[in-house]
Amino acid sequence: MPITFQKLTHEYNAGTPFSYLALDHIDLNLQEGKITAIIGETGSGKSTLVQHLNALLLPTEGSLKILDREISASEKPKHLKSLRKHVGLVFQFPEYQLFEETIAKDIAFGPKNFGASEEEALQRAKDVITLVGLDESYLERSPFELSGGQKRRVAIAGILAMDPDILVLDEPAAGLDPQGAKEMMELFVRLHTEFHKTIFIVTHDMEHVLRYCDEVVVMDHGHVKTTCSVSSFFQDPSILKEMGIHPPAVVSLRESLREVGFEIDASILTMEQLAQAVAKEVGHHE
């Protein structure tokens, strides 16, 4: 079942001198079972958008259909907790939400809130800690003595332990080293392929979008600018140029080659294919 935004509007501090229209009548269909990237400039409303997915923010106008729920501005929604169990949201810099004495307890906090028993929750903690790339010896340590990147893994584990069907991540790789960011993205791909999670990732990294995602939503000043598949998004770099987004290396190399007269298919999206196409072109002219 798709996730449907209908004329969804969010105004911060509505009715005060500080009001700000962060989302302006958004109409959007998001598919389940995919990895969707949400991109756009800082302040374009990405975080505001994704916080509607588990009803942390409620629309000030319009409505949102997600799973079997409808959340609309006209009626006050109830039992949001049941929605939050199924839609796990990892905030930007989630390391700030850790508070327990041990990592095990912190990871078990979410499942326990959603009704799991102590043993079940601790078992979940054991399961997910290895998933995020830390080993079980970490479980009894304090979350406050970890490095920033490790803290973030623990925070993500805390959401994974709730076993949500839909996982939403707000800039999960921000501030990580390239290797850490890559591992992070690979974790999400694994969650998608092995555990069939629907995944939404807010990101600024076009390489990640190209390599790991299926669909892309482009936000611009509170509007959805485009939404399409990743392959068609990178076929036509004019949108990228127009929005001042730096394209991935493959795409910019492909376009430079095309500009100087190479006859290369615009649908090529990997270095291998590009290399082959160039070799073929050169072969023709020899």
Binding site: Y12, N13, T16, P17, F18, Q51, N54, L56, K81, R84, K85, G88, L89, V90, F91, P94, Y96, Q97, L98, F99, F109, G110, N113, F114, F144, G158, I159, M162
Partner: protein, 265 residues
């Protein structure tokens, strides 16, 4: 939480906004003294008018003032209840069941309510029309004569301005942590006592961690730029008193003096 009005600066352009912060602080103190004189209802009516004129001049909306007073409502109700039980003098106005309500209790509460309201409005006018930094600059200037008795005026002002600077940051952080924990199934409203305690802990601990982090970062940043509290420093912003500032003094002295004379007679 975002619509907290108490203590918030409103960037409008009014003659009150343009006054010298020192003048405004002194005027506030004078008016506070006036409010605490047992001036009777006529006196309060007079003060009320003055305060009303002030808010109009400052271009503040009633709505804003009302929101800044809201947090006090709880206290006032509490006070009324205590007074109803403690003050059993005067005439009986009416009875609820068999519990008599005395006129003194009601009047006493009304008295305090009016005083508190006036005080809150005045303070709100000060904070809404003065940038926090100007306010602390004003405080520092007003405290500097006390340096002779080794009062650390500059340090006090610096502490106040840092505290003011971090209030919005901490509010923002609180909201963010609340949302993050809500995503993990924390429900601040429902739940048993134990769950409630856990949900408060899940908010307080990260908040303290980040507050200490901010404090540490700020201290390092200040030290890295060579900040030494007791060095004399020059200022980019210089305060100057203008005619308007003296007019405000004059008005405040008139009101205070008037009330004193009125009481004397």
């Amino acid at each position: 939480m975002n619509n907290i009005a108490l203590g918030r600066y409103l960037p409008l352009d009014s003659c009150i906004h343009r006054l010298d912060p020192r003048a405004k602080i002194i005027a506030l103190i004078l008016m506070m003294v006036a409010i605490f004189l047992p001036a009777g209802w006529i006196g309060y009516a007079l003060l009320g008018c003055a305060v009303l004129c002030l808010t109009v001049l400052a271009k503040l909306k009633m709505n804003f003032l009302w929101r800044s007073m809201k947090p006090m409502m709880f206290m006032l109700v509490f006070l009324l209840i205590i007074n109803l039980f403690m003050l059993q003098n005067g005439t009986i106005l009416f009875e609820i069941g068999s519990f008599p309500i005395y006129s003194d209790a009601v009047f006493q509460t009304l008295y305090i309510t009016v005083r508190l309201m006036l005080m809150i409005i005045l303070t709100t006018v000060l904070t809404a029309t003065t940038k926090p930094l100007d306010l602390t600059l004003g405080i520092e200037h007003l405290l500097s004569p006390f340096k002779v008795i080794h009062l650390p005026a500059h340090e006090i002002a610096m502490m106040i301005s840092i505290a003011l600077r971090f209030i919005p940051t901490l509010i923002e952080e609180t909201q963010r942590i609340m949302k993050a924990q809500a995503s993990r199934g924390v429900d601040m409203e429902e739940g048993k006592l134990k769950e409630k305690i856990m949900s408060i802990l899940s908010l307080i601990v990260p908040l303290f961690v980040s507050a200490f982090q901010h404090a540490d970062d700020l201290a390092n940043a200040m030290e890295a730029r060579g900040y030494v509290p007791d060095r004399t420093r020059t200022r980019y912003k210089q305060l100057h008193m203008h005619i308007g500032d003296y007019v405000i003094f004059a008005i405040c002295f008139l009101i205070l003096g008037g009330l004193l004379v009125f009481l004397w007679i």
